[in-house]
């Protein structure tokens, strides 16, 4: 057996911080990895601690291999794969944890710490909010403390001191981090990161059956925030369109992809223009939220044939886009016969009553617009109710809703109205998206949550194009004007006891919630939103025409300036300005040091003089004594001696020493 070299063991201090750092690093990832990792960590940590206490041995190679293989297998079992983001992170974490049991030397600890830093970065893939960023500072501090502890001796036994040092290091790094954040070129990623699996569970989907949106409104999750260049339009103008659902199968409205989808729609800008930008949360979908009719100059976004905006890849991370909208635009004044037929599509043999009612309406109102108004009037004046918990509907859902239950959520109203309009021969479609949103006055933006989900109707008239009508408005106008909370006073939204949204009526909680949201918005807008384009603009304003050389030079200069400032602050040259006599004393000491007479810091001048006197010739002794005496008089006897005299005596001493 080969002889083991004795390697420096890992200090207790470092081990403690390493374990704490591991917990901190793993904690935010627990929602995304199998939970047995906790057990694995406990076993490995206990094992390593027992090794430290010399109660156990490090595992043998065969045990290590077995642990590794079984851990990988376990990841495969719980994630169904070994590749992909979730499985990859799980695998990384198991490696991070398993490394504990072979933590022998400093080198191993270093590997573990660097792995920890990498793992901290992976947690940003799941969550890049301000809280997550703040939290990661905590994990990084702990990792740094482990790194600091590793450099200390085994005798240093104060973990508190170590972490203060680590925190100080981190604080010092902040200016450099800020600089790099501002100036470091934003490079396009070399590969596309896979999306986390469990994202985009909630949100508007590509089909809608009765009850879908009501279910969505149980969630208070943030969907997007939008800010306007000018005034924020009134609530009843904020129809954030996501999708149109043209195909009805008797129960569910579906999105249907047509080749014509990709053709740019025909439209003319009219009326006022709104300029807005949206920061949307990841949805794992390609569609964006826009006010009709919107236009954007971003290359990766296109305006689809049904006037929705679509991104060319699914949105997996917070995404910012800017657009302009013309709410009064003339949208598609002409419809091709094929599309005309398409928007009249209805399944056979369902909802006979609704069809009959449509025929009846048609006869009474030959004009399309008055027919639409008649339908809306029915909703307004009939015994229709708006509720989150409508009764279940059977096969003829529209019939049952219109003539029997008469209670429903927005999807019931939009779905039945579209059905009736189509049955009466008017091209119509269901539009889903979000309506309204909470206005944050402080930062002038609207924040839209899942419970703002909504669906409404668009119908088409020759020459006038698509028109938006909202049957829900007829039943519950407060829903449109004040939001869902107001419309459903009786029914509580299931936001949960812990959610601040449940306490809207308590003023200070509400204020706190709004301030917190403002902070998040600022974070997303200014930190996460600071990407290549904005960086370029900002730098252009700062440096004029930009080139990478200029940025490089700028970066180097700023960092150099920063270090200069730090060193000034550390060494404080203005504080060590010496008095004339002290400067002369320094010269005196240098002069004698050249002759190998070095004064110890704790040695008084007299003692020094006494020590070296024996080696000197009488004139030298006299010169030395004269200087020492004058200095002593000046420093200790409060008898000011002119600097000239000291200088002279020093000169004499120099000469006498040189003449030896």
């Amino acid at each position: 057996m080969a002889e083991h070299k004795i390697k420096p063991s890992i200090p207790r201090n470092s081990l403690i911080w390493l374990l704490i750092a591991q917990v901190l690093v793993i904690l935010p990832l627990l929602w995304h990895v199998p939970l047995w990792i906790i057990g694995l960590w406990l076993v490995c940590a206990a094992w390593r601690i027992q090794v430290f206490r010399m109660r156990m041995q490090f595992p043998k190679a065969i045990v290590k291999v077995a642990m590794m293989v079984s851990a990988a297998f376990a990841v495969y079992l719980s994630r169904g794969s070994l590749v992909g983001l979730d499985a990859g992170v799980a695998l990384l974490l198991t490696a991070f944890v398993l490394k504990l049991v072979e933590l022998r030397s400093k080198r191993d600890a270093l590997v573990l710490i660097y792995l920890g830093f990498f793992t901290v970065v992976t947690s940003y893939l799941f969550d890049d909010s301000i809280l997550a960023a703040g939290y990661s500072l905590l994990s990084v501090t702990a990792l740094l403390a482990a790194l600091v502890g590793l450099q200390q001796t085994v005798l240093t036994g104060r973990p508190g001191k170590t972490v203060t040092q680590a925190a100080a290091i981190l604080l010092q790094a902040i200016p450099v981090a800020l600089l790099l954040f501002l100036f470091f070129p934003r490079l396009d990623p070399l590969w596309v990161l896979p999306a986390p699996k469990d994202k985009g569970v909630t949100g508007i989907s590509d089909h809608m059956s009765p009850g879908d949106i009501a279910e969505l409104s149980q969630s208070s999750e943030l969907v997007f925030r939008a800010s306007f260049t000018g005034e924020i339009p009134t609530q009843n103008q904020l129809y954030w369109r996501a999708l149109t659902l043209p195909y009805f199968d008797g129960r569910t409205w579906h999105m249907q992809n047509m080749t014509s989808d990709l053709l740019a729609p025909e439209w003319q800008a009219q009326g006022d223009m709104l300029e807005y930008s949206v920061i949307m949360q990841p949805s794992s979908r390609t569609w964006l939220y826009s006010l009709a009719v919107s236009q954007t100059e971003q290359k990766d976004i296109r305006l689809m044939n049904d006037f929705r905006l679509q991104h060319n890849t699914p949105i997996h991370r917070t995404y910012l886009y800017q657009a302009r909208a013309w709410p009064e635009a003339l949208a598609e004044p002409k419809l091709s016969p094929e599309k005309y037929r398409f928007y009249l599509q209805l399944p056979h043999k369902v909802n006979p009553q609704a069809r009959a009612w449509a025929q009846q309406l048609r006869q009474s109102y030959p004009d399309d617009e008055s027919l639409v108004r008649a339908v809306l009037r029915t909703f307004n004046q009939g015994e229709y109710f708006y509720t989150l918990k409508p009764p279940r509907l059977g096969k003829h859902s529209v019939d049952e809703f219109l003539f029997a239950t008469q209670t429903g959520f927005c999807e019931h109203y939009s779905s039945s109205m579209t059905f009736v309009l189509r049955a009466a021969g008017i091209p119509a479609r269901v539009v889903t998206g979000y309506q309204g949103g909470e206005v944050n006055r402080a930062e002038n933006y609207v924040q839209v949550r899942q419970y703002d989900a909504h669906s409404w109707v668009e119908y088409w008239r020759l020459g006038f194009g698509w028109h938006r009508v909202d049957p829900t408005f007829q039943v519950a106008p407060e829903r449109i004007e004040q939001g869902l909370q107001e419309a459903l006073r009786g029914e509580s939204l299931n936001t949960g006891l812990l959610s601040p949204l449940s306490y809207r009526h308590i003023n200070w909680i509400n204020q706190l919630r709004i301030s917190w949201d403002t902070l998040n918005y600022t974070w997303q807008k200014n930190v996460l939103g600071y990407q290549a384009e904005r960086q370029k603009n900002w730098l252009k304003g700062l440096l004029g025409e930009i080139s990478w050389q200029r940025i490089g030079v700028g970066l180097v200069i700023t960092i150099a300036l920063l270090f200069a400032l730090i060193s000034l602050w550390l060494f404080k040259p203005w504080q060590t300005r010496l008095s004339e006599t002290q400067r002369l004393l320094k010269q005196f000491e240098r002069l004698l040091a050249k002759r190998q007479y070095k004064r110890e810091p704790a040695e008084g001048l007299r003692a020094f003089q006494a020590r070296i006197q024996a080696d000197l010739s009488p004139p030298q002794r006299m010169a030395l004594d004269a200087f020492v005496h004058s200095y002593e008089q000046n420093e200790y006897a409060n008898v000011p001696v002119p600097a000239v005299q000291l200088k002279q005596q020093l000169q004499t001493l120099r000469h006498s020493l040189a003449g030896r």
Binding site: P601, A602, G604, L605, R606, A607, N638
Partner: protein, 305 residues
């Protein structure tokens, strides 16, 4: 005046051989209006030193042998009923003297010890409601035996602090010992020393010592020393402000004895071991070596300028 003091030192050195430094230190302690604790084995000349000092300075001298049954009244004095007058008359104790030798102070009970130590600090005695001032100058030399500790009451740190200096005489060198043996100096000889200085002169010297000049640079050095005792790990606790004051006044006296009217760092360094050692905690209890190494560390490491 300095010459007279030098004469005094010279005279004492005639009976206490080879202890020039310690004698000078004792003198400095007296001039700084402090009290002296001598810690040494029996027969090292503690009594000789105190007796000789009293003689040459012309001070009245009393000696109290501290024992475990010594009562405070035995030191301070008591009131005795006189039948003739029918009144209580105060009989002053041995403390009413100019130089008091408190021999083996750690043999007495804490009660008696504190009676003495309070008088040292206050320079007056309060008995039965009336306050009586002690004579000027008032100088206490206490001795204690560092070994044979059974049945003793060691002075606590707070009491040790009352002594300006703690001195150890130590064995004489071979030459001095030879002279001691051949010349056979006796206690009687010590008693025959003559007064070298007038009392007024001595008091004046004490005043002059307090007027010795101290520059900012020197105060900075003392502050650095004090700071070092408070921050360095080898000291359990640092020097008290009283300790710093003591260091300064001892250094003044030392400078005065050297014929200077200002203090230089070397003065501070000279008195540092005697002034500071007994005020700092033993970082490892029981080993007498630690405090002297700690003081040596102060001397070697704390920058003068």
């Amino acid at each position: 005046m300095l010459r007279q003091l030098e004469n005094c030192l010279h005279a004492v050195n005639q009976v206490l051989l080879g202890k020039e430094h310690q004698v000078r230190m004792a003198m400095a302690c007296l001039l700084a209006r402090g009290h002296l604790l001598i810690e040494d084995l029996p027969g090292m000349g503690k009594t000789t030193l105190s007796h000789a000092l009293a003689q040459v300075l012309g001070l009245s001298y009393q000696r109290v042998q501290f024992t475990s049954d010594l009562l405070p009244g035995d030191i301070l004095g008591t009131s005795v009923f006189e039948r003739n007058t029918g009144q209580f008359v105060f009989h002053p104790g041995p403390i009413f003297t100019q130089l008091l030798l408190a021999d083996e102070i750690n043999r007495a009970t804490p009660k008696s010890q504190s009676a003495l130590l309070e008088a040292m600090e206050e320079r007056q005695v309060t008995i039965e409601g009336s306050t009586r001032p002690l004579p000027e100058p008032f100088f206490v030399i206490a001795t204690q035996n560092p070994i044979c500790q059974s049945g003793t009451f060691a002075l606590p740190e707070s009491q040790l602090d009352r002594f300006l200096m703690r001195l150890s005489l130590g064995y004489p060198n071979a030459e001095a010992e030879r002279a001691l043996l051949t010349r056979a100096i006796t206690k009687r000889q010590a008693a025959s020393l003559t007064q070298q200085i007038e009392k007024d002169e001595l008091l004046k010297a004490q005043t002059q010592v307090s007027e010795v000049k101290v520059s900012d640079a020197l105060v900075s050095y003392i502050l650095r020393l004090v700071e070092a005792t408070r921050t360095n790990a080898q000291f359990v606790y640092g020097l008290s402000p009283r300790g710093g004051l003591a260091l300064l006044s001892a250094a003044k006296a030392w400078a005065f004895l050297a014929g200077r009217d200002y203090v230089i760092p070397e003065d501070v360094q000279s008195v540092l071991p005697q002034v500071v050692a007994h005020r700092l905690a033993h970082s490892a209890a029981g080993t007498g070596a630690t405090d002297s190494t700690a003081v040596q560390w102060l001397l070697n490491e704390v920058a003068v300028f």
